[in-house]
């Protein structure tokens, strides 16, 4: 299982990559493996605003429905348009092609509440 060093992580198994004031968000390798074959992805619209911890999308595998929660507050500036048509990208490339949304940070201090790769790996292995 993969835990890229440059990402931040949540206990809900989302990852965050911060570039300037924009956070790219997806679900982790662990999350996609737990879900199994992803068959449906529901994303928000550009311009939607989310508070930290609120559900911004849904990922469904054959057997399960999972909400995806905003790791940070802010406005959606871009969504991965390919995901709804090819949800299996989430299984094949959770950290790159499988990114879900980009959110403009409303409060950069929220990033301090996220885990680094080592802490997330420990969290997952304890689970």
């Amino acid at each position: 299982m993969d835990f890229p060093e440059e990402l931040k992580y949540t206990e809900e198994h989302e990852w965050v990559l911060v570039e300037d004031d924009v956070a790219t968000i997806g679900i982790t390798d662990f999350a996609q493996e737990q879900l199994g074959d992803v068959v449906f992805v529901e994303l928000p619209e550009v311009g939607d605003r989310f508070d930290v911890g609120k559900s911004f999308g849904v990922v469904e595998s054959v057997k399960a429905v999972s909400d995806v929660y905003a790791p940070v507050s802010g406005e959606v500036v871009e969504i991965n348009e390919e995901l709804p048509d090819e949800p299996e990208i989430l299984n094949n490339s959770p950290y790159e092609d499988g990114w879900m949304v980009k959110i403009r940070l409303a409060d950069a201090a929220e990033l301090d509440d996220l885990m680094d790769a080592a802490a997330y790996q420990e969290f997952v292995e304890k689970d």
Binding site: G36, D37, V39, F40, V58, E60, S61, V62, K63, P84
Partner: protein, 361 residues
């Protein structure tokens, strides 16, 4: 939690295990979609040892089963299998099952794992209260391991391991003979809609049979299949699953199972309630639908027609073969008989669902 004789083999194969009806069972090995497509295109091997087996024997076994089950047992010949159900006096379903006839006075019922104890107690109660005294009921569930070998390559794989003439074994018939040197019931039945076999051997021989079949079948594309794909495979064929399409509160006639409900065969448990319900008009009917947009219909989601809630999804999934949402929904009969547009409520959206013919695939 109960374990089948193959539990350790599943773990060795890296299966993801889940609790199912009180049993510790593999839900997937390589992935639900991959497993599903393997069964459709080549072959898959399922451990279904959790299923229950109840033996009914004795001079009055036939009369008793004719009274206890909904289908017409007089149609069965030795070596034949029949899909049937046990019902309550209310007409609701105790369980659905396959009935094997060994001889006029010896039968085996293969029942759902989670219902085995309930079914056995129900049959014992019927036996006690009925006039069919001269028979014996034995719960033989722990004696058997059961494997299902399913898919277009199933016969070719089994042929490698047995001298039994499979070409003479018709659908819903069984033979008794050795496979890989192990004595068993070879039944040409299944729950996938593909050609295939259900193999009943002694519990102790289960692991060896599993390994021999996997080894013989691997070159032909055989892989192990978990409960996840077992569910998507049966749903694509529109097969009922107890607890979903049929329950204690749903009559077989409402669940498209009139074909196993022989109201003219004579008295049987539940018949009176069914005749009454039929005369009064059945309030609900099971219908098959395909989502007309992206989404996954799931059990319990409400079904709407003209803005009014008319029923619910009994089973739903993303069909791996069609890559489309499919569902069996129990809805108001009048709406079912019309061709009015249905919608399934998925979270905040109402997604149009078109009527479909069964099987879906």
């Amino acid at each position: 939690m109960r374990k089948t004789p193959l539990n350790q083999l599943h773990r060795d194969l890296g299966a993801r295990m889940v609790e199912f009806g009180g049993w510790d069972m593999p839900v997937q090995y390589s992935g639900v979609i991959n497993e599903h497509l393997a069964v459709r295109n080549a072959a898959g091997l399922f451990d279904v040892s959790h299923m229950g087996e109840i033996e009914v024997s004795g001079p009055q076994a036939f009369e008793f089963l004719q009274y206890a089950t909904t289908n017409d047992v007089s149609k069965l010949i030795d070596g034949q299998v029949q899909y049937t159900a046990l019902c309550y006096e209310s007409g609701g379903v105790v369980d659905d099952l396959t009935l094997y006839r060994f001889s006029a006075d010896r039968y085996l019922l293969c029942v759902n794992a989670a219902n085995t104890d309930k079914d056995f107690a129900w049959l014992q109660g019927l036996h006690r209260d009925s006039s069919f005294a001269d028979l014996t009921l034995v719960n033989r569930s722990d004696d058997y391991a059961q494997l299902a070998l399913q898919g277009p390559q199933a016969a070719a794989i089994l042929n490698k391991l047995t001298d039994v003439d499979l070409s003479a074994l018709k659908y819903y018939h069984f033979a008794i003979g050795p496979v890989a040197g192990i004595e068993m019931i070879i039944s040409r039945t299944g729950y996938t809609g593909e050609d295939g076999f259900e193999l009943y051997c002694s519990a102790a021989d289960g692991p060896a049979l599993w390994q021999q079949l996997l080894a013989a079948g691997a070159p032909l594309g055989l892989i192990p299949i978990g409960l996840g794909a077992r569910d998507t495979l049966r749903l694509e064929k529109g097969y009922a699953l107890y607890g979903h399409e049929i329950t204690a509160d749903i009559m077989p006639l409402e669940a498209r199972l009139a074909w196993i409900t022989k109201l003219n065969k004579g008295p049987f448990v539940g018949r009176e309630a069914m005749l009454n319900a039929k005369q009064a008009g059945l309030p609900r009917q099971l219908v098959a639908v395909k989502l007309a947009a992206a989404g996954v219909p799931r059990e319990g989601y409400p079904v709407f027609c003209d803005g009014k809630e008319v029923g619910y999804v009994a089973s739903g999934t993303m069909s791996p073969s069609l890559k489309q949402g499919i569902a069996l929904a129990l809805i108001d009969s009048a709406v079912a008989a019309s061709d009015a547009q249905l919608e399934i409520a998925i979270r905040q959206r109402h997604v149009p669902a078109d009527r479909a013919a069964l099987p879906f695939v």
